[in-house]
């Protein structure tokens, strides 16, 4: 696979622009949750915060800070676009679909999944490089953890 296929323009753009970057709101409290995740092999870090809607069914806001490679930064940036304003259940099924994509070892996506993943489908090439899968999943791991904390309303 060529490097242009792995590092699609969408990924390079998101790595530069980093949507949602810069922590906002509360780390804890009713409807708020924060998670800190590291990739121990390379030291990449992400700290991600979510705030749920008052009824707890939607993600009202996502913000994050982190250092890492273009894959981890772009993936968390795309996450921010996908998740903000979405229903919690949709977010969970999306995260599961993205997880499946990352573990597909480069198998072709079916059209329905590709459409569902939208911009996140650009990371398909990462699944061919097992050492980079963790980079793409770092932000999503933080999101899942932060959502659990937020829904507990601690």
């Amino acid at each position: 696979m060529s490097m242009e296929q792995l590092y699609q323009q969408l990924i390079l753009d998101h790595a530069r622009e980093r949507h949602g970057h810069g922590l906002r709101g509360d780390a804890s409290g009713p409807g708020a949750g924060e998670s800190f995740q590291v990739n121990p092999t390379c030291g990449d870090e992400v700290r991600l915060r979510v705030r749920l809607s008052d009824d707890g069914t939607r993600v009202a806001d996502v913000s994050w800070e982190g250092v890492g490679c273009s894959i981890s930064q772009a993936s968390t940036s795309v996450l921010s676009d996908v998740v903000t304003g979405a229903g919690v259940e949709d977010v969970e099924s999306f995260a599961a679909a993205f997880d499946d994509l990352m573990h597909s070892r480069g198998a072709a996506l079916d059209p329905a999944t590709e459409e569902r993943l939208g911009d996140a489908a650009a990371f398909a090439g990462v699944s061919k490089y097992p050492a980079r899968v963790k980079c793409a999943l770092l932000g999503w791991m933080a999101l899942r953890d932060a959502l659990i904390k937020a829904s507990k309303g601690e």
């Binding site: 390379c42 030291g43 990449d44 273009s70 894959i71």
Partner: protein, 425 residues
Amino acid sequence: MLTAAELSAVRADFPLLARTVRDGRPLVYLDTAATSQKPQCVLDAEQDFYERRNAAVHRGAHALAEEATEAYEAARAAVAGFVGVAPGELVWTKNATEAINLVAYAFSNATAGRGGDAARRFRLGPGDEVVVTEAEHHANLVPWQELCARTGATLRWLGLTDEGRLDLGTLDVIGERTRVVALTHASNVTGAISPVAEVVAAAHAVGALVVLDACQSVPHLPVDLHALDVDFAAFSGHKMLGPTGVGALYGRRELLEAMPPVLTGGSMVEVVTMTETTYAPPPQRFEAGTQMVAQTVGLRAAVEYLGELGMDAVAAHEAALAQRLLDGVAQVPGVRVLGPSTAEDRLATVAFAVDGVHPHDVGQLLDDAGVAVRVGHHCAQPLHRRLGVAASARASAGVYTSEADVDAFVEALGRVRTFFGAGAR
């Protein structure tokens, strides 16, 4: 120095170097500091052992057991000789990490009263200090942190200069309370070779023991551990053309004799009753359980291979590669070397940061060109923090590395910032 013909013959001895990676690109292996490739003679030695001499060692009296034991002890003598020590001063371990932990846990066991009066010098407690350096691999840092946590001793460290060299201005950290000084002979990140003599003098002046992490030096330089006058040293087989699963701990004989055992069980004992046990003399005292016999035989083949080339020739070859790596990297805009910028007292191990591009992305682009480098923190997070980065990419050479390897790396490195648009940011 190796001639072109000699280098070409060396490369032909390493079957793996002939393979291609990533859509047929010739492999450019620059990750020898992580693990070295193996010459055919090492592979053959292991296979030969299993085909003709395999048996448990130091037990049994049948013909095969004798031959296997002889092979195991001959390997010990060869490896001990390679680093200038006596066979009875060399303990086989799984790797250098285990070797360093062995020393740290022997201190712990002595502190708990094991080993009796003879082991008193290994007892630690509040008020005692263990000194390391900021350059250490986690394997020569975390075991000492843990030892201090178990005993109440205090961990202190020697600092580094901005070029990653040991800052001898901080040598006064070593003082009357210092009991152990643990330092690397050569950094696995910066490639800097430590001023061991100065540290040993400071440590011995206050009666402290010196533990040397020789993982990166033994494969690349002539090393005489007696001449260095260190008290303990650790190195790994797999970094010096040998197999994985075997490493060694050197300990001055009188220290090994006084040290209580760490792993206990079979084949490290004298007399066992239901209530107590007396222990074998070193090195057997520290080699509990069935040992990695085939790997020791493989490591013997590796040191004989290096010995035939001559470590002076190996070091000279790699010094030229270090200069070529530094010159090459210096030509690429936006690349900063993490470590000494000159080739004096340094290995051909060059870590670097590329402005605006994360090391993982650097490594991916190089990998696409067939160039294997290490990315990440290389098990040295405090060192990276000291040099102001979270992670780095690292190119490291070995005896089989060619100038063409270095040039291919530099050429590929030159494309990295353009690809990621880093120059325009």
